[in-house]
């Protein structure tokens, strides 16, 4: 079932959690809502489920206006971050709960409920665990039971809040792949929330990047990563260097270096360059002179910090370990750098700051709620 979100707004106290969100989700899509803590992604997900009443706007499931439907009437499968399994019920009872609370006529018989529960357990590859209690399951198993429980009501859409947030790295990776496969099998329209860009890029058909209650960009994983629409998206997806440049007659000027662009901007600009788009070139070619400060070799990547000669600012560079230039790289080496791909945005007032701290994307602080619950 496709979902249409029209100008949805929600304010907590004075804090606008959703400041007018428009989005269309195709039937059968797997969508990631990606953003930092406080970006409104969880609020949007909860608004879709009806768990968070919205102040204004409209939510449509297919052609049905769901805006004023109660949670119960919406028939969405919601998987909570901490699973919210009923501790006093067995796995089978948890899964069958949604069937067992139906009204007299539509309620399946106990035997039928049980059959469905077992069937779903098989689907989530937990056959034989139906008599266990949630406390006897691992995190990954709980996650699957929660998913099976959500699927049991044959939901119009499946909503997952930080589905892998509480799991450790290894389990997280396995589950991610498995969820993708499950999605292909069931074909249910699925929306999940995450603050982990890697997770979003790897799993989703399309990614919705959110910040401060607004959608910054919607696109396929390739689009948002390669053609970030805003500085925020550039920042949030992957690491990035920020340089101060100037656009004159359609050309980017960077300390004497002149690079062709197709920008319509002119005047001072912020130049966003990914570390791997800052190529090492021969000393004879055009480029920016710099000195290597620090080199770190991790697996297939060589990461280095270089100091630009013209303004002493530091930039991150990244190259493959097989790159011939990588071999000789060590602190003190003089290099020449050429931005081969970059994003240009009109200069922001803060752009006097020339470098960004080297933030590893995974180090995005966890949602505050998590820690409180931790």
């Amino acid at each position: 079932m496709d979902i249409t979100i029209k100008n949805v707004r929600k304010t907590f106290a004075d804090f606008p959690a959703l400041a007018g969100v428009d989005l269309h989700i195709e039937s059968g899509e797997l969508i990631a809502l990606l953003g930092p803590s406080g970006s409104g992604k969880t609020t949007l997900l909860r608004a879709l489920a009806g768990l968070e009443p919205i102040d204004a706007g409209q939510i449509l499931f297919g052609a049905t206006d769901a805006t004023n439907l109660s949670v119960q009437e919406r028939k969405v499968g919601f998987v909570f971050q901490h699973y919210a399994l009923f501790k006093h019920m067995t796995v089978a009872d948890n899964i069958a709960f949604g069937l067992s609370v139906r009204d007299g006529k539509t309620r399946p018989t106990t035997a039928e409920q049980k059959r469905r529960a077992i069937e779903l357990l098989e689907l989530v590859q937990l056959k034989g665990l139906e008599k266990r209690y949630p406390s006897q399951l691992s995190g990954g198993q709980k996650q699957r039971v929660a998913l099976a429980r959500a699927l049991a009501i044959e939901p119009r859409v499946l909503l997952l809040d930080e589905p892998f947030g509480a799991l450790d790295a290894k389990v997280r990776k396995d589950l991610r792949r498995w969820l993708r496969e499950l999605h292909e099998k069931t074909g249910v329209t699925t929306v999940f929330v995450t603050h982990d860009q890697e997770e979003a890029l790897e799993l989703a058909d399309r990614v919705v990047v959110m910040s401060k209650g607004r959608i910054e960009q919607v696109g396929t994983t390739a689009e948002v990563y390669e053609k970030p629409a805003t500085p925020f998206v550039f920042d949030f997806l992957g690491s990035v260097n920020l340089l101060a440049g100037d656009v004159q007659q359609g050309k980017l000027k960077l300390n004497g270096l002149s690079l062709p662009t197709d920008t319509k901007l002119s005047g001072p600009v912020d130049v966003y360059v990914r570390p791997h788009d800052l190529r090492l070139v021969e000393p004879t070619s055009d480029g920016l002179d710099a000195q290597i400060n620090f080199v770190q070799r991790t697996g297939p990547l060589v990461k280095a910090v270089a100091k630009l000669a013209y303004d002493d600012s530091k930039v991150d560079i990244e190259l493959g370990h097989l790159d011939p230039m990588a071999l000789s790289l060590k602190p003190g080496t003089q290099v020449r750098l050429l931005p081969v791909s970059f994003g240009l945005f009109a200069r922001m007032p803060h752009a006097a700051v020339q470098t960004l701290p080297d933030v590893v994307p995974n180090a995005v602080p966890e949602q505050r709620g998590d820690r409180a619950r931790g």
């Binding site: 907590f12 959690a17 406080g38 409104g40 925020f232 007032p349 803060h350 700051v353 709620g369």
Partner: protein, 305 residues
């Protein structure tokens, strides 16, 4: 959009979490009742509490003043009432400090160390709560009474325990035994042993560690326990009744004095003395609530509301 990963990501701005974090903030249509149901339930609950708790309290003060302020003050100024008050204070002054030392010691060994039988020990400390006060009084009569095991020995040495202050103090200790330990154990369990270990690695002695690290951490919880312990010590009736002998002006505590007055149909006087204790109970509740509101984070989790 202001620049900088550093601002937007590493240090989330001071905004509320994405949805209500505390139970009080739940204004969620999905998990609450319609307003009329809420207000109906609130009305029933408050009506019940008023009828059941506040009315008896009001009755105490009304009855106490039924015959006017003159009678009220006379009842309180009576020598027997005065000596009963003194004895009540004395019993509490003996019982509370002893239970305080015990409570701290018990909480220390239970929360800072692992040993076999710990759970049993905790249960045994709670035991006096489930023993009838009358039985508590009886056990001391059996030991120290004229026909008790130790009775003759004490009589020989001219030490009076039963029908005297020591017996009353013992009975009071018994019934207030668990209060402070019970308050401290969960609190110190939550606090763990990190602070103490840090102090020790910095060269503090065991006693210094307790005095300067542990005690400041538990002081409000300790005060809370003392408050409850004290309230019970002032009000204990059953256990003290058994060991006291009801000798007017000598072995009567305030609650026993109330009984005597009441049985003599001196209702106004009985309620006058009762109002004194009721006032004390109200003071206890007030102090207790202040502790709960202001120092919630420094009390055991179950006390935070």
């Amino acid at each position: 959009m202001s620049l900088g990963k550093d601002q937007s990501l590493q240090d989330p701005p001071a905004i509320p979490a994405e949805f209500g974090s505390g139970p009080l903030q739940r204004r969620n249509a999905a998990i609450t009742e319609p307003a009329w149901v809420r207000w109906l339930l609130i009305a029933i609950a408050l009506g019940f509490l008023s009828l059941f708790l506040l009315l008896p309290l009001a009755a105490v003060f009304t009855e106490a003043l039924r015959d006017g302020w003159g009678t009220y003050l006379t009842a309180l100024a009576e020598p027997d009432a005065y000596s009963a008050l003194k004895l009540t204070l004395l019993a509490a002054a003996i019982a509370v400090p002893l239970n305080l030392v015990f409570g701290v010691a018990a909480a220390w060994c239970i929360t800072k160390f692992e040993f076999r039988g710990k759970q049993l020990l905790i249960s045994l400390i709670d035991l006096p709560f489930s023993v009838s006060p009358v039985v508590a009084g009886l056990v001391y009569v059996q030991i120290f009474g004229a026909h008790g095991w130790a009775g003759p020995w004490f009589a020989e040495h001219d030490i009076k325990v039963i029908f005297a202050v020591p017996g009353i103090a013992l009975a009071t200790i018994f019934v207030t035994f668990p209060f402070i330990a019970r308050e401290l154990i969960p609190l110190m369990q939550e606090q763990g042993t990190d602070d103490e270990q840090a102090a020790l690695t910095l060269g503090a002695s065991g006693f210094k560690t307790f005095w300067r690290v542990t005690l400041p951490n538990i002081k409000w919880g300790l005060l809370y326990g003392v408050l409850l312990c004290n309230a019970r010590a002032f009000g204990e009736f059953g256990a003290v009744s058994v060991v006291s002998g009801h000798i007017r002006g000598q072995t009567n505590t305030l609650p026993l004095h109330i009984e005597i007055l009441y049985n003599e149909y001196a209702f106004a006087a009985a309620f006058a003395v009762a109002s004194l204790l009721a006032g004390l109970a109200l003071l206890t509740l007030l102090l207790k609530s202040i502790l709960e509101w202001r120092y919630a984070d420094q009390l055991a989790a179950s006390r935070r509301h």
